[in-house]
């Protein structure tokens, strides 16, 4: 008997780490290991971020068309940036930067992916929780930390950075000399994004390991719902993309605080001072950033595509024309997304031959996107479409995705990009696909899954009203951006003073009014969300008669998702249009067998 102590014979109870439901408030609602709580926390954070981002957009739009009108309260936020409530040009750029950063990172990466994915991926594959619940908790709180660091930029020195969410060097790298906001505010930005990358990597790790390893019996990969696939593919993209942004941010911070010259060349004279750097390459930042940045926009849209597909199928009461094709298209988009980053840099001074090399995959990526759109449309044919708030947003997504997508035909071609680069055409393009289509995916998901998440139904009439106002409103805001772009309206201008821009101001006024109205309409959503949470009608287990696993348990699901039971899966996730004991659909875990549909 060595002294490597033979322990007392362990029993099952000692060895097994069962998920015990937490008891304390902190454990239940704050530092929770439960993926459902974490999903809601991400959603809450995204809600706060989108509200701030939206208000920032109102401020920008107001300043563009009524620049001398003092905005009430703005002077309180920043005495320097908006004395008396009238915004300075630099503060406009600060607001622009924070709007973009908040929306892209804290809304579009959080809501469709981290929020809904965290909540529903484990349930939809029949697991009790994510693979690494502690990492999951850490990833949310790290995201929250990143958010706090970013918001802190509003309250330091001369305010938030002015270099845009793309933060091009050397403007972002040289430090305070480059202008207001480029002092500590820019460093905070870099730090915030650095921390965000870490959080995102932890989250992606969880999603991937969970999807690969924790599927329940019978849940083969091809039986996963489309939204689960979308979250899985997105997490693969995110893993590699954020892993590149992390070093980029580190190098940027070092250039700013440690005197290195990764991105700053020699001989720059800024604010009458010769900068003490040399040898760096501004294009290096652009390459690193966009290598992340382009996959990032697909990270924003793919989950929405998955959510919309899932909801549409349920609303149409029939599966899509092909489950496999949609999934292969999503994989194709994910793969191609890594080959196109240079299309943000056609006129950047990059080798013009490279521009052509990037143009081709950019054009090719249209193909899977078109296939998906055609499949959605083709599946509508002959369906039994039910109109609900959720399905309206899903249908609206298709419309928006088409609108935003076709402007990509133009921007994918370098020769046309010579004219359209850095104009409102680009701004219209990405707002339609990201700012509207992806958000519609989030809205659709909210209306669809709110009953499951809270146990209450949302008010359908208010939801439909919200849809109409938002659908029409966002078209009124963002369609004119394209026309302005064709006229050469340059972006990121805090005022329109050039000869050719002044005549376009009335169009901007229309846009501003549409933006304010559409923004106000979102209050209907906010009210619906809060009111329904407390006073909404009690939600049945499966109000939408949906087949996937999240609907087999009561609303909201119990702590360990399935009440300690093993779920066994017998079918693919889209058994609709069949004749079964439950109606025209069959739950995935139902052992019932039905005739194959012809």
């Amino acid at each position: 008997m060595s002294d490597g102590v033979v322990p007392a014979v362990p029993t099952t109870a000692d060895v097994v780490h069962h998920h015990q439901p937490p008891q304390s408030f902190i454990r239940k609602y704050v530092f929770s290991l439960d993926h459902k709580v974490i999903g809601k926390q991400y959603y809450g954070l995204a809600l706060v971020a989108v509200f701030i981002g939206m208000v920032l957009s109102w401020l920008m739009r107001i300043h563009l068309v009524w620049p001398n009108w003092p905005i009430p309260g703005l002077g309180l936020l920043s005495k320097v940036g908006a004395p008396g409530g009238v915004m300075t040009p630099e503060y406009y750029l600060s607001i622009l930067t924070m709007h973009g950063t908040l929306m892209v990172f804290f809304v579009l990466t959080n809501a469709p992916f981290a929020a809904f994915g965290n909540y529903f991926l484990p349930i939809q594959i029949g697991a009790e929780d994510m693979a690494f619940p502690r990492f999951n908790m850490m990833s949310f709180w790290t995201t929250f930390l990143a958010f706090c660091i970013l918001i802190a930029a509003f309250f330091v020195g001369d305010g938030p950075p002015i270099a845009g969410w793309t933060s091009y060097a050397p403007l972002s790298a040289v430090g305070a000399d480059a202008g207001p906001g480029q002092g500590f505010g820019q460093t905070l930005w870099g730090l915030s994004i650095f921390v965000f990358c870490i959080a995102s990597l932890l989250g992606s790790l969880n999603f991937i390991a969970t999807t690969l390893d924790l599927r329940t019996r019978g849940m083969t990969l091809s039986r996963m719902p489309i939204c689960t696939w979308a979250w899985f593919i997105t997490s693969c993209i995110a893993l590699l993309a954020f892993a590149v942004l992390l070093p980029a941010c580190l190098l940027l911070i070092l250039d700013r605080v440690a005197g290195t010259s990764f991105f700053i060349p020699a001989g720059l004279v800024i604010s009458d001072r010769l900068q003490p750097h040399s040898g760096g390459s501004p294009l290096l930042w652009q390459h690193l950033f966009w290598f992340f940045g382009h996959p990032e926009v697909y990270i924003a849209i793919l989950p929405a595509m998955g959510i919309v597909s899932h909801i549409l199928i349920n609303s149409m009461r029939r599966p899509l024309l092909s489950h496999k094709v949609i999934i292969y298209c999503m994989m194709g988009i994910g793969f191609l997304s890594y080959m196109v980053w240079g299309h943000h840099m056609f006129v950047s001074g990059m080798n013009p031959f490279s521009s052509l090399m990037f143009s081709f995959p950019t054009l090719v990526i249209t193909i899977p996107a078109t296939i998906m759109t055609l499949i959605w449309l083709g599946s509508l044919y002959g369906s039994r479409l039910r109109i609900t708030a959720a399905s309206l947003f899903a249908l609206g997504f298709i419309s928006m995705f088409v609108s935003g997508g076709v402007s990509g035909f133009f921007l994918a071609q370098p020769s046309i990009d010579i004219y359209l680069h850095a104009t409102y055409f680009v701004v219209g393009h990405f707002h339609m696909v990201m700012g509207v289509a992806a958000i519609f995916g989030v809205f659709a998901g909210t209306y669809f899954w709110f009953p499951k998440m809270t146990g209450h139904m949302m008010n359908e009439s208010l939801g439909k009203l919200h849809f109409w106002l938002t659908f029409i409103g966002t078209y009124c805001i963002f369609m004119p951006f394209h026309y302005l772009g064709l006229a050469g309206n340059v972006r990121r201008y805090s005022a329109f003073v050039d000869d050719f821009l002044v005549p376009l101001i009335p169009v901007h006024r229309f846009i501003t009014i549409a933006a304010l109205c559409t923004g106000a309409a979102q209050l209907i959503f906010l009210y619906n969300l809060i009111h329904s949470r407390f006073r909404g009608a009690p939600a049945p287990d499966n109000p939408w008669e949906c087949t996937s696993l999240e609907w087999i348990m009561p609303s909201p699901p119990p702590f360990d998702n399935f009440g300690g039971k093993h779920v066994v899966v017998y079918h693919d996730p889209y058994q609709y249009g069949v004749k079964s004991s439950t109606g025209d659909y069959l739950m995935q875990n139902s052992p019932e067998q039905v005739e194959a549909r012809t």
Binding site: P170, L321, I418
Partner: protein, 274 residues
């Protein structure tokens, strides 16, 4: 409500198309038309843009109309209505997408090469007029080599805006720079190729002249250039399109395309003002 959706999508699609077709904002007189093309290479870009507009426009309208039509027809049907499959199924659609979009993209990509090549793959002619542009927060300055045809070298430490030494020239020690002509306006003669060398003083900027169909970033540390030939006399705006700081919105200069005589006179006058 499905029918309402269909109607609204249909209307929005039509309304969206109107400003494209009429090139204006619903009869207000505000024009969205591309400004007239005053360059030799621009027509290829404009053609490419028009072709793409037709393809994009047709795809946009077709998709929106199909969406509207299908939602109109298949929403809120009877509970036992027959579920039909789109003829051809997924396979047909995949093939259609591959063929249609594939050829479209190939065509655009391959044809678009020419317009791109005209701007970027052809070097400037040896007898092109050499001008250097410097972009700095928040103005453009231009430099002509003067009678000796040579540019003096740049010394960033010698930049002195108060004394109009925008480029940091050192005429005391550098002979070539003594006859360099520095102006705030870019004047060029009509129908002669201009080779514009681009130097960034501080951060990234960009050179954009809509009528010339030219846009090129200034990148600190990189020697970039563009070349073009203007075909119409007139005054055109040069604006900065790369976010460069608080004055970005106001950073502009004028391009004056002059007749050869007017240009020579202008140069003489500027030379005497140095």
């Amino acid at each position: 409500m499905g029918k309402l959706f269909a109607v609204i999508v249909f209307v929005i699609a039509l309304l969206s198309a109107i400003p494209i077709i009429t090139h204006s904002w619903f009869g207000s007189g505000i024009s969205f038309a591309l400004p007239e093309d005053i360059s030799t290479h621009g027509h290829a870009i404009d053609e490419q843009l028009s072709e793409t507009m037709v393809e994009a426009g047709l795809s946009f309208l077709a998709a929106q109309f199909v969406l509207a039509f299908f939602v109109w027809k298949f929403s809120n049907r009877q509970a036992n209505a027959e579920i039909k499959t789109f003829p051809g199924g997924a396979k047909g659609l995949v093939i259609a997408a591959l063929v249609l979009v594939g050829t479209e993209m190939l065509a655009l990509g391959i044809l678009g090469q020419k317009a791109w090549a005209a701007v970027y793959f052809t070097p400037a002619k040896p007898d092109a007029i050499q001008v250097q542009a410097q972009a700095g927060q928040f103005a453009f300055y231009f430099r002509y080599p003067g009678a000796d045809g040579k540019f003096g070298s740049l010394h960033p430490d010698k930049i002195d805006e108060g004394n109009s030494n925008f480029f940091g020239l050192d005429p005391a020690n550098d002979i070539d720079s003594r006859d360099d002509i520095v102006t705030g306006e870019l004047a060029i003669p009509i129908n002669r190729e201009v080779h514009l060398m681009m130097h960034a003083k501080d951060v990234g900027h960009s050179f954009y002249v809509r009528e010339l169909r030219i846009q090129q970033d200034f990148v600190p540390g990189l020697d970039l250039s563009v070349h073009f030939t203007a075909t119409k006399v007139g005054k055109y705006e040069i604006v900065c399109t790369q976010l460069c700081g608080l004055g970005h919105y106001n950073m502009k200069a004028y391009l004056s395309v002059l007749s050869q005589e007017d240009f020579d006179a202008w140069m003489k006058q500027k030379a005497s003002e140095q």
